[in-house]
């Protein structure tokens, strides 16, 4: 009994562990929701690229304003939006297609971020930026995570039908007077906000794992949009909790531990989902 206590509860005697867990759980809720839309709209790779492109904005903000959470946040937001708008412009004004434009810009942004950070005074750790550090979650980080997650959940509750329509059938949404462009823009903004908020715990490179993996796992189990959202959030919460524990006991970086736990859920789902899993497909041929 006491071994179990040490395993599950013990770690949270430490303040930094409680903060790390809270931060991961809060962002798991919004990440699980956003991930579903990313997966269903086939924006998974775009989201990955977008997360990398935040780095120079965050680094520049760090350089100019120090550790101010708000500054980091707006730095990341600006860099992310510049990448998104820049690639849209490039693909419109040149021969380059949208994916290539996005791919080129994000790697350019990422490189300038790495360059900036490597030129900074040594107290800033590039590894923390990239892969997160659960030890470093401050109260203002938590507040930011709570605000961003609350905003995201609120948006999904209020605009549930618009989000469903815009994700499933944007043409129909427009035909019936829906504001598809606005929904899309709002969605991109929420994604960037969540990525920045998740940076401290998960790191820029791994943050998307908290969004994507629960969603794609839920996609393998659910036949309804609402149940996919709920399943995805539950999986994100479970993965975050177990991941933080693993990170503590095994001394692994928190972001990586969470992503690995979520990855285990994903692999299990991909193999054993009774309707859409690989084993079923191999046994019965074809899915569905």
């Amino acid at each position: 009994m006491s071994a179990l206590h040490d395993l599950l509860v013990g770690p949270f005697a430490y303040e930094f562990m409680r903060r790390g867990l809270l931060s991961a759980l809060i962002l798991g809720v919004s990440g699980g929701l956003l991930g579903c839309v990313l997966v269903l709209r086939r924006l998974a790779l775009m989201g990955d690229a977008l997360s990398h492109s935040l780095l120079p904005g965050v680094a520049a903000a760090w350089l100019l304003f120090g550790t101010s959470t708000a500054a980091l946040f707006f730095g990341g937001l600006i860099a992310g939006l510049l990448t998104a708008l820049g690639s849209a412009l490039l693909s419109r004004l040149t021969r380059v297609k949208e994916d290539a434009a996005f791919g080129s810009l994000f790697i350019l942004f990422f490189a300038s971020g790495v360059a900036l950070i490597s030129a900074l005074p040594t107290r800033v750790n590039l590894v923390d930026f990239l892969f997160g550090n659960v030890l470093g979650v401050s109260t203002s980080d938590l507040r930011l995570a709570l605000a961003v997650s609350g905003l995201t959940v609120g948006a999904f509750v209020v605009f549930y039908r618009s989000i469903l329509l815009e994700t499933f059938d944007p043409v129909f949404n427009r035909a019936t007077g829906g504001h598809g462009g606005l929904v899309h823009l709002g969605f991109l903004t929420l994604t960037v906000l969540n990525l920045v908020a998740a940076m401290q715990t998960m790191g820029i490179v791994l943050a998307l794992g908290l969004f994507l993996l629960p969603a794609v796992s839920a996609y393998l189990w659910c036949d309804r949009f609402a149940s996919m959202l709920l399943t995805s959030v539950s999986m994100a919460l479970a993965g975050s909790f177990v991941g933080i524990l693993v990170s503590f006991h095994a001394g692994v970086a928190s972001g990586a531990a969470i992503v690995l736990c979520l990855g285990a859920i994903f692999l299990f789902s991909a193999l054993f989902s009774p309707r859409y899993g690989a084993i079923r497909t191999l046994r019965h041929g074809g899915h569905g």
């Binding site: 269903l40 469903l164 129909f172 019936t176 036949d223 309804r224 949009f225 996919m228």
Partner: protein, 256 residues
């Protein structure tokens, strides 16, 4: 609403994409309660014409009226059915979920589907014979059933003008036949249908009227007159289709 028989009228409608003209100086009238096929080769402007009626294609010139109104004010009357390949059939949604979307435009941000809305949804599914499939995910339907789910969504919307973008594309023989029967029964009920169709033979079997396009309006009226040898020749030979007079091979996407 205008008592006039002609409900959708085009007056000198021109649509351009940059320097490319998709529709040029189109004048036509689509009578109330008629079933009309929009025909033409690839890039003849079929989809553009549907989009213009829906009000989401800015016109470079001319005017479209639906009854007495401009398209953007007539939205509740219009029900649109997308092309099959535009739908993600793996989306986690059931037949009922799709049909319910027909009621979404009428709901406020915080309101839920009312009993009346639900009755409409059930009624639409009954009408199209898919009530027993209501809880199925949409991939697990036949092609014809999938098409009926989207027709039911259009019916649930409660509009009286149905715009169908290539409804026969990608359907197997049974699916096509099923859809043909439904469209024929809609004609008897006096519903107004406007459908972009690339298969001239299917159009001949089902639609009493047609609009033949080749950027310009080639002909408009009863389908047998519209599809005269001379008109078909004009629409399909001069334009982009150089392989023959008939466009039965015209599978590729219409220019959007």
């Amino acid at each position: 609403m205008s008592p006039a028989q002609n409900i959708v009228s085009f007056r000198n409608v021109t649509v351009c994409y940059g320097r490319l003209t998709a529709l040029r100086d189109i004048c036509l009238e689509i009578p109330c309660g008629s079933s009309t096929a929009v025909l033409g080769g690839n890039g003849a402007g079929k989809s553009t014409l549907l989009r213009a009626v829906l009000g989401w294609q800015a016109l470079s010139g001319g005017e479209i009226r639906i009854g007495d109104e401009q398209p953007e004010h007539a939205r509740p009357r219009l029900a649109y059915v997308p092309q099959r390949h535009a739908v993600d059939w793996d989306f986690p949604i059931t037949v009922r979920g799709v049909v319910e979307q027909g009621r979404y435009p009428y709901l406020g941000l915080f309101s839920r589907l009312s009993t009346a809305d639900r009755a409409r949804v059930e009624g639409a599914m009954e009408e199209l014979g898919i009530a027993d499939l209501a809880d199925r995910q949409i991939r697990r339907l036949s092609g014809g059933q999938q098409q009926r789910a989207f027709l039911a969504r259009a019916v649930a919307q409660g509009g009286d003008i149905f715009l169908l973008d290539e409804p026969f594309a990608g359907l197997d023989l049974f699916g096509s036949e099923e859809l043909g029967h439904i469209l024929l029964s809609w004609q008897e009920q006096g519903r107004t249908v406007l459908a972009a169709v690339h298969d001239l033979e299917a159009a001949r079997r089902i639609f009493p009227r047609a609009i033949l396009l080749d950027t310009d309006l080639v002909a408009c009226g009863p389908i047998e007159e519209v599809l005269s040898a001379a008109n078909v020749d004009r629409a399909f030979r001069q334009g982009h289709c150089v392989h023959g007079a008939h466009a039965h091979g015209a599978q590729a996407r219409d220019r959007r």
